[in-house]
Symmetry: C2
Subunit: 495 residues, 2 copies
């Protein structure tokens, strides 16, 4: 076994011998220590793995590469598409991009899995009996990174939710639940406010749920759901959420179960997958043989399941549980209780290795297995789509008078498109606005086809041309469509 990049020759040999080669980023801070702990355990367990190490993280950032990962790493990752990754230190200062976001986005890792379980009574927790998995969509939502400032006062970020992106994560969640004996999936969205985007996410969830009648399902509003998860995490089994909510829920779950140092995480794509600890690189305790390697071991267990070595995964997991039962504690989880002893990273690793083949006697065991493959339903979407209007956004900094702007636009409108309303931050200000409405320099002007007929792109261009010729500062447009005769846009507050 080698933790350095192998020569082409050795790679081929290993492939012939049936061992699997794993891409490895040891990481910064405590990363190398806990990576070495994991490598020792995997070797002792007979996992039959080899490692192709990739240099990434702090050193690469500081060498001037803002992504934190060298260009040639992508080749390695595509050759050995399973990545085990230690924690990374992103240097302070602007311009450095998150290595995690880069890897997720570049390689299309659409699913983020974050198990959170407690080890009571052996590791102290406020919430005994918690055993849940958060399945987070990993590519869409406000994290797609599409932001614009188009007036002096107003900035905007696009929240993107797509049908196929949602279908992928929803199917993954159901396949995961089915393969791993999970009974229930809770979907968390805010579809009472975001009826189109979060509404789509929840609709796809409910639709696909019908294919898995054996899994119980429920939908919850995110604020209520987050509060319940914070206070009664025991009630949850699998929790499914879009990117931003999932990000928040994952951290809450790890924190309230007291298991930040004990949580692994996986990021799954169609062909590539990444496994990592959820904690940071903790540079203050690096190199001191203090760090708890459990989180990265858990990540490695998830990885073993993913590559079809569930038996080895269960063996490693059982040994970790048994070591906890036998009183071994790293400093972060040592509380001085009877029959426990504080040990360093290496001794903790030794204790686990000694217990390979033994089972826990108290802690509940859940055997892991790999989810079925996610296959999107082959659809030819036959929805009709009809252009029925356009929202034209104006920047008007001086003279913030909705009546004046409204009258001016009405004069400019033609026999094809008429002004329906103007909103400011989503609140209708014309016609018949309210005097209390606070006005920014950002005006959304909705034009719709007269008599509800459909219009053409050229008719929108003609209108834009009139507005621009009149000296108006058009900053953006959003076309209005009907799909199968139903509006694909929200009404203004007060419309």
């Amino acid at each position: 076994m080698s933790s350095t990049v192998m020569s082409e020759k050795s790679k081929s040999e290993n492939l012939v011998e049936g061992t699997t080669t794993i891409s490895l980023i040891k990481g910064d801070g405590i990363g190398p220590e806990i990576s070495n702990s994991v490598i020792r355990i995997l070797e002792a367990a007979g996992a039959g793995l080899q490692f192709a190490e990739i240099e990434a993280g702090e050193k690469v950032y500081l060498s001037g590469k803002t992504s934190g990962i060298p260009d040639n790493a992508w080749e390695t990752l595509r050759k050995y598409p399973i990545l085990l990754k230690g924690p990374i230190t992103t240097p302070r200062g602007s311009g450095y991009k998150s290595l995690n976001v880069t890897i997720r986005k570049t390689l299309g890792l659409y699913a983020n899995l974050r198990p959170a379980r407690t080890y009571d009574p052996f590791v102290k927790t406020k919430h005994p009996g918690t055993d849940m998995v958060i399945v987070r969509e990993n590519e869409e939502d406000t994290y797609a990174g599409i932001e614009h400032r188009q007036t002096r006062e107003v900035t905007q970020c696009l929240k993107i939710i797509t049908q196929p992106g949602t279908e992928k994560i929803v199917r993954y969640a159901f396949e995961f639940a089915k393969s791993n004996g999970r009974k229930k999936i809770t979907c968390m969205v805010k579809d009472n406010i975001m009826k189109i985007t979060d509404g789509l996410f929840n609709e796809v969830f409910k639709e696909i749920a019908k294919e898995y009648p054996e899994i119980e399902t429920e939908s919850m509003i995110i604020d209520i759901g987050a509060a319940l998860l914070a206070n009664k995490p025991q009630r949850f089994d699998v929790v499914l959420a879009p990117n931003l909510y999932g990000d928040i829920l994952s951290d809450i779950a790890a924190e309230v179960t007291g298991s930040v140092g004990m949580c692994g995480s996986s990021n799954i794509g169609d062909s590539i997958a990444m496994f990592e600890a959820v904690h940071g690189s903790a540079p203050d305790i690096a190199g001191k043989d203090i760090a708890n390697p459990t989180a990265l071991i858990k990540a490695a267990v998830m990885m073993l399941v993913h590559i079809g070595k569930a038996e080895i995964a269960n063996k490693v997991r059982n040994a970790v549980l048994r070591a906890l039962e036998d009183g071994y504690r790293t400093a972060d989880i040592y509380t001085g209780e009877p029959n426990t002893h504080k040990v360093g990273t290496i001794a903790f690793t030794d204790a686990i290795i000694e217990r390979l083949g033994k089972n826990p006697e108290v802690l509940e065991v859940r055997n892991f297995s790999k989810p079925g493959k996610v296959v999107l339903k082959p659809v030819t979407n036959l929805d009709t789509k009809e252009l029925v209007g356009v929202d034209i956004f104006l920047d008007q900094y001086e003279n913030r008078d909705p009546e004046m702007i409204g009258k001016r636009l009405e004069k400019l409108a033609d026999r094809i498109l008429k002004l329906k309303m103007i909103t400011n931050r989503g609140v209708k200000v014309y016609p018949e606005g309210q005097p209390e409405t606070f006005l920014t320099d950002h005006w959304r002007c909705r034009f719709v086809a007269i008599q509800g007929s459909s219009i053409t792109h050229n008719q929108i261009l003609a209108l834009l041309n009139k507005l621009i010729t009149d000296g108006l500062d058009v900053i953006k447009t959003e076309n209005l469509y009907e799909f199968n005769g139903k509006p694909g846009y929200s009404l203004g507050q007060g419309e």
Copy 2:
């Protein structure tokens, strides 16, 4: 005192006599009971209030008014701009709009305050010693309600963060902290991902913080912040957040402190303010003399402070605390501990009234006072704004080949605007995309001015015209601007 709408005569008389008239929505379910409890306490405390009752909620919804509030209510609210509001039942089924959202948006109630404190050792809690206030921006963010579906697969919601909207809520938070002896404000955003929108929010926070050197400040990433708030709420004093995060944080705080039935809330605008309980209408226990009126009493206490009756507010608050100390418990907080007795809504109210003038002996008292007026800095924003390009979004459902689309667009581009890149869900797919990137039918095509010069609206129209004439389905545009020479737009992942 009257809880029905008064005649014009009595209104005038009362104004002459120096009493204040409050608009009142008693609400549905337990609303009338707890409203009556509050009215009795306020009268006994000598608050000098009269009430103009507004019929709103379930009955109004079911009469066919989708807003849940009759049109003439707005007149009452403008005449008596302080509203005390019980919980509302929104009927099941689509089409009914949230009354809260309608009132907040129509009247410009930009600040939502949610105090969360514990009453240990008298009311059981997992987190003794918590005493925080969440200040939530109430009008912007993804809650502005601007959503569009423009392709078969992709939906979008605009997240809007504005400079003046942020300045208002930030100044309110600092004025509140200053007037109420609060020491620290924690601002929670996700500005490592949403650098322009959440970045603006945090920048405004840091800028205004300089005017309040006596208040300690910190900024926190929302996922970490929400997790800490869920697990160690004691560490927080004032928490400030944009709308969505604030919504989630408010529910977490109420839930983990075990005080959902004990939390009041205020919604503050420039001239109008609304005070309410945070809990729902609980129709299952309505009319049974079981409900805990504390949350609405707390809301009334906040209201008294707001209208300049801090002394009465403190008197009521102290009586509530003393009643808790003396063992009075409604069913929701009764745990059978020694020296406590379970009482109904009316008896609990009686116990509070009997204690008006008495102080608590154990529970900590915090005297409330009204924050100073929020005055936006008069600015003439002199930032230069220069049009440097445009993001044109296309719907292309068939033939999802980035190379083909890229080459076609390059041919259509002219000597003014050149194609910089194409992204799909924010990930660059042209030029030099990655083979793993999942492709939807939604393509963002960035065109920028050649040689970094600025362009005109007409040049964008000319380009749009070429694309449309070539048969491309343009669904939206976002202009690209530089402000003071710096890009007002995010780069694509991989750009």
